[in-house]
Symmetry: C2
Subunit: 487 residues, 2 copies
């Protein structure tokens, strides 16, 4: 029998929702515990945002070095060490995950290494390898268990040739060819990474455009850019099946044990059947990355007998992250879209500050940004042009291309666009949509504006430094109101 431990707040899950909640909770003097099954920092830090950025940085450096002559720099035999690239990515993740553990210690958050689940009113049970290791009671229980890659029947990952984001981050060798199923942020980042390193990359997207949550104009520019880099992109296309190459090659009745046993040894290949407009065709690739969305980790959580409601697997919450069960909260991916680390972290703070009785501010969903760290980068916040026009709203749209910006030319980054959308009547910034170098960092200026309910005048009066890419923010806003200077 384990001793029952009591806390003010217990958090199940140590990702960017959970660990931020733990820190904020401890800061406010609440006795806090966090339960994490695998690794502090969660998917984001260990298998998501962070290690992919490390990979993409290596690919970016490689790409730049291959084109360095335009900057007056020569080099012979530019080549990458794939193992070293992967190792660096893992080292970065390990360093940061270790950092989170230190933060828990520093903030006096008690960490339980196991799987947490509800165990009756105000109680949580922690298990490790199927064995109970702790019983916890707490006034406030926060579910921050995140999500995992969606697996489609017939596309089950084998970890060697058919990969989810997780295996795609640590392949044993550099693939010569690759099919990416799904062109959301995760799919496109891997497509960009492997293409920059020289793989033949095909992307299959079931909707009519890549990065389908982005503004149509940005999607179209992204597609053109990806294709110019040599990617093959099939939109409106379903991957109706995949099979291992050996199966096709085996004559009926033949027993080719050697082939069979090498089924998972790269390189062998996969035949994928793609269907577009009712017509099917096959492509042969070495690997497949399945990036078709995520599934919330809400099963087997002890929700039976509670008032917690699930909606397509996601825990239903209100603007304070409260579930329908008093004292139980949910934040981050498990509580629904958008499935983004920064949404989880902000929900964490809102949830804890509300619990602590502070004057908390609920998140405005329209102020949650989205970034894709492909080449070129894509970043946006707020309404797309299409969404803004819904319901007959009159809008003003501004555009400024990288080609008209001095810093972009000086950097050798002349491709991209900053697009802004304003309400014609009120002048309120409704959305900002960007593609090009450093847009993931440029977005901050729009985000502060959007949080402060900026109108066009606020951006016009802002003195952006020259020469910077950020001047395009100014110009795009000027353009929306017929005052653009450098076009």
């Amino acid at each position: 029998m384990t001793e029952i431990r009591n806390f003010d707040v217990v958090i199940i899950g140590g990702g960017p929702g959970g660990y931020v909640a733990a820190i904020r909770s401890a800061q406010l003097g609440l006795k806090t515990a966090i339960i994490e099954e695998k690794h502090m920092g969660g998917i984001c830090l260990n298998w998501g945002c962070i290690p992919t950025k490390a990979l993409l940085r290596s690919a970016e450096v490689y790409h730049l070095m291959q084109h360095s002559e335009q900057f007056g720099i020569k080099a012979k035999g530019v080549e990458f060490d794939f193992g070293a690239i992967i190792k660096r990515s893992r080292d970065v993740a390990a360093q940061l995950s270790g950092g989170i553990s230190k933060l828990m210690k520093k903030n006096k958050v008690e960490v339980f290494d196991g799987r947490g689940k509800l165990n009756g009113k105000g109680a949580v049970k922690v298990e490790k390898d199927g064995k109970k290791i702790a019983d916890i009671t707490a006034k406030h229980i926060i579910i921050a268990t995140g999500a995992r890659a969606r697996v489609l029947p017939g596309f089950e990952p084998d970890g060697k040739q058919v990969l989810t984001y997780k295996e795609a981050m640590v392949p044993d060798s550099m693939p010569k060819s690759l099919l990416v199923i799904g062109s959301g942020a995760i799919g496109i980042e891997f497509a960009s990474f492997y293409r920059n390193l020289g793989a033949e990359v095909t992307v299959a997207e079931i909707t009519d455009r890549v990065l389908p949550v982005e503004d149509v104009e940005i999607s179209n520019i992204a597609r053109k850019s990806f294709e110019a880099q040599g990617m093959k992109i099939h939109t409106g296309t379903q991957v109706s099946g995949i099979r291992y190459q050996e199966e096709r090659n085996l004559e009926p009745g033949t027993k080719n044990l050697e082939n069979k046993s090498s089924k998972f040894q790269v390189p062998s290949s996969i035949i994928a059947t793609l269907t577009k407009d009712g017509k099917s065709f096959e492509i042969e690739v070495e690997r497949v990355i399945v990036a078709v969305g995520i599934v919330p980790n809400s099963e087997n959580m002890g929700f039976e007998g509670t008032k917690i409601k699930l909606e397509r697997g996601h825990i239903k919450t209100n603007e304070w992250c409260e579930t329908d069960e008093k004292g139980v909260y949910a934040i981050g991916d498990v509580a629904g879209a958008p499935w983004l680390a920064h949404k989880a972290s902000h929900e964490a703070v809102v949830c804890i500050e509300k619990i602590a009785g502070l004057h908390a501010h609920p998140i405005k969903k329209e102020n949650i940004p989205g970034c894709t760290y492909c080449t070129p980068q894509v970043a946006s916040v707020g309404l797309t042009e299409e969404k803004a026009k819904e319901g007959g709203r009159k809008i003003k749209v501004g555009r400024f291309p990288y080609m008209g910006n001095g810093k972009a030319i000086a950097l050798g980054e002349p491709q991209g666009l900053i697009k802004t959308i304003f309400d014609e009547q009120t002048g309120e910034l409704l959305g900002a949509h960007m593609i090009g170098a450093e847009v993931t960092e440029l977005l901050g200026a729009f985000l502060v504006g959007k949080t402060m309910e900026a109108t066009e005048a606020d951006f016009m009066h802002t003195i952006f430094p020259h020469p910077t890419l950020s001047e395009m923010i100014h110009e795009s806003v000027l353009d929306a109101f017929g005052k653009v200077l450098h076009m």
Copy 2:
């Protein structure tokens, strides 16, 4: 005799003040002329901001390539072609200068190729090579003649070994060693460029720290970083004299004609005498860059008999850029500090919109940002900690280091700091001071906030995307109020 041409607005000087004034003026339906003596775009575009950014980009790429192994990328024989680097910089400047000429045409601004000066009430004379080529009358005359490098007696540039920013941009060969006199933005950018390419660089600064307009803490970090890169930095140090090496080597009475004639042929060397705390020492360098400030171009402008007032050479203006002479305005460097292109461009818009009778907004000086594009970059806006404390104001100071940011680690850019300063009583953002990768682009978020008179709450509620460097903005603000998450 030339025909007298009449305009609503005539602008003398085609730099970032003048040409922006011309565009905005034409947009508002005013008949507009611009007079430019040398090159559209002015110093900024032809010999300043833009070509230096092109040079710095090449140096940055070279530096990255020399350290590419940390990213898993190998190359042999990484070397730069100095001529190609310089040529690229000139090509970028030429491309953008050509763009400005096109903008003048598109906006139907008449361009006079010559030197403009006042010629009595509401009149301007244009001369080319000492010959009058046009007589112009205009209701509104805008002086936007800019500034030039300050020349100190005994440090007159010879264009080969003793250089201003202009010659330092187009040297005929890569110097092995270099003394930079003055550690403001211009001096430090050249020091950084040449150091990144491998020159032995010494910086002499008369005040007690480098980048003396920046916050002391940022200055100190910058110095440490420059020294770690191998620069020699002497603060509190005056360069009391320079002389060509030959002069020392020549025995009295010796006539070494060969040496004399080669005096300006690189490489020969210069002996500079540096004085610190009353003690002098000599250093020997191949080149000297003199970057000790600028002098406004306000001489021989036909101001005699007008009410225009000069203050240390700068034209005195009010918040609408009006001089004391009715109908005459001044913008940009000639109208005083800060000598920055974006200040000139914003003054241009304020000046024209006021002329046009629109609801113009005067510039708030405390909202004008400053950027230095060295390695690491430096960027700031508003009050330094020292200035903010003057007069006994109570402040809150926040700091967040790059080392605590996931994107910075993933990029391999773990060095830097974001520092924020708030009024303790009102929560108003007083200043933001940054050093590190991409801070010149990150600054935009603070600038929008500062323009909108943001308090700490506005930054705290802003959802910066993960993983980005911009999250450090959030954390620095949180730190100022004891809520930092990742430290």
